[in-house]
Symmetry: C2
Subunit: 341 residues, 2 copies
């Protein structure tokens, strides 16, 4: 009998590593393939970047609490976020959906309305797609393409010793929003007469249901004349993304607990759910904020930005990866991202 | 109560028409969006073309008789075929898959081996993708990107009166191959001791399981200095595609039954299944041959091509669309493509 290895033994990253090993490239124009937030293609004067994401019902979203219009917006936003992570401007999208006959034309139109609003918000053209039947749930596949001047591209691999680690917005909100939504769903399933209590947490449930890609930051960095030395978006959790930057750039890092941005609602929800708020910040996924490094010389240009937080700095690889707690203790960072398998 | 319209009332094309109505474009570089085999983006000296296809288990393929390696090849080939249909050269691919835990790592590797072989065959770079869990079957989403000199692009909309209608290869084989595979599956399900009898029809079962995009024709047209006035690939059936060319170009057409290319195996299988072979040729899907029109002045360059067949010619729109039967009768053409809903 031939060997059977379960996908769960490898995990998503392990599987991707194993598969990409066999992939060759044939065109000199392919500057970077699999391994960053988006692929990079040489288009003469500029780079074109390409990214794709698959959203599967029951894995990435639950229609019990995710309105179709928000889902359409989110499907676009998560791809635009990967374009932003390359410091690029999104230009085109393709959107494919597979859906069963439990969806009506009106439901599909609601989903597309969310896609349309997001396309308008990010100024991106929906240029193609595919629509087909499915035997079971809803599947949405989006591919986003963008463009960036060659001198402005930001990879995961460019962080250098003494660079400053920055994150935008606040973290952990999407995870705590998901906890609230899941709890209210269970309450509703147990007693359909109960009204879900979502008003207490409008911000974090919004973070989960309708994330916004930080194109505003990409444009502001441009205006300020700052090119991040490395960048990626925070989709699997800050700790996991820090490990990616560390590995790709061959560097170590130190971050400070008291510098990590958390919203009061995220904090309160974590306390209510008996979770350490710092765990939500470090390991919560789907915030779609940007994590990037800048040279010390660019610090003064960003110092007063109300939504950029300086959480630590890059060190030599052999110095390791550490979190300095509020009490001043340096503890080794652990990566613990989302596992879809 | 709000109105509920079933998707089956509109069909796939109707649904796409309805959804694209709400889509705006924001970039002058978007030359063509939804509505041709691929979108067309102005990239300075050249056009970049983009197409995407979603393959869903139980809708587009049946793993009972479709080996995963062939499926991987086919997922790439059907997208490359759309690039070929624009007279362009494929450059990059993204490949996303959703799969349940009934698939092992070895099974995924088999699927990727087919993708790798196809990428090598078509000289196209796999630059990205997404791998995720699924609650039920296997879903494969491929986006293909290509490039073409601006003067060589071929739309559906360029056919002119007196142009010659050409098709490559032979038609109806993939449909009859599917009939054979479905029959043998039923035989096997009824009696697992029976060995499926596929040897009688190796060509048409191969047409169904492992179609080849006609990039050879795209390269040959280039070498011969012929630019088709219009072109598309035959994925939904010849008759349906003729209607697309007719509508997009605003023309009529006359085709001749005795010019339509059919392989002997396709013919024999049709007879065995009590089907009119001409129905398989006109309405069979998934052949992935090319349908194109050329100016009369280019005829001599292609006249002796062993695999290009001249099936008719373009007329004025008001003259209508006709099939001239072997007995000399002109009957109105009917579009009747594949319906996935």
């Amino acid at each position: 009998m031939s060997k059977r290895t379960e996908i769960s033994e490898l995990g998503e990253f392990g599987l991707i590593e194993r598969l990409r090993g066999s992939i060759q490239t044939y065109h000199a124009s392919t500057v970077r393939g699999i391994g960053d937030d988006a692929a990079v293609i040489d288009a003469g004067d500029t780079y074109r970047v390409v990214t794709t994401d698959l959203l599967v019902e029951g894995v990435h979203f639950d229609l019990a609490y995710c309105p179709l219009k928000h889902l359409g917006f989110k499907a676009v936003a998560v791809n635009v976020s990967d374009i932003a992570a390359m410091n690029a401007i999104p230009k085109e999208l393709t959107v494919s959906i597979a859906l069963s006959n439990r969806f009506s034309v009106e439901a599909v139109e609601e989903l597309y309305e969310g896609i349309r609003v997001a396309a308008q918000h990010y100024k991106v053209d929906v240029v193609g797609g595919d629509t087909t039947a499915s035997r079971s749930g809803l599947v949405i596949s989006v591919t986003a393409m963008g463009e960036v001047e060659k001198a402005r591209i930001a990879y995961r691999s460019g962080a250098e010793v003494n660079d400053i680690l920055c994150v935008t917005g606040d973290l952990g909100g999407a995870l705590m929003g998901l906890q609230v939504l899941e709890r209210e769903k269970q309450v509703f399933l147990a007693n359909p007469a109960m009204r879900p209590d979502l008003e207490k947490y409008p911000y974090i449930t919004g973070r989960q249901l309708r994330p916004d890609a930080r194109m505003d930051i990409v444009h502001e960095l441009r205006d300020l004349g700052v090119v991040p030395t490395s960048m990626m978006d925070i989709s699997d959790g800050l700790a996991s993304e820090l490990f990616h930057i560390s590995k790709a750039s061959g560097v170590g890092m130190t971050i400070y607990e008291d510098k990590l941005p958390i919203d009061k609602e995220t904090y309160d929800a974590a306390v209510e759910f008996n979770m350490d708020p710092i765990t939500a910040v470090l390991n919560g996924g789907e915030d779609y904020e940007l994590l990037f490094t800048i040279s010390q010389s660019d610090f003064s240009k960003l110092e007063k930005h109300p939504d950029v937080h300086f959480i630590g700095h890059i060190t030599k690889e052999e110095e390791g990866k550490f979190l300095v707690t509020k009490s001043g203790t340096a503890v080794p960072l652990k990566a613990q991202g989302w596992k879809h398998f």
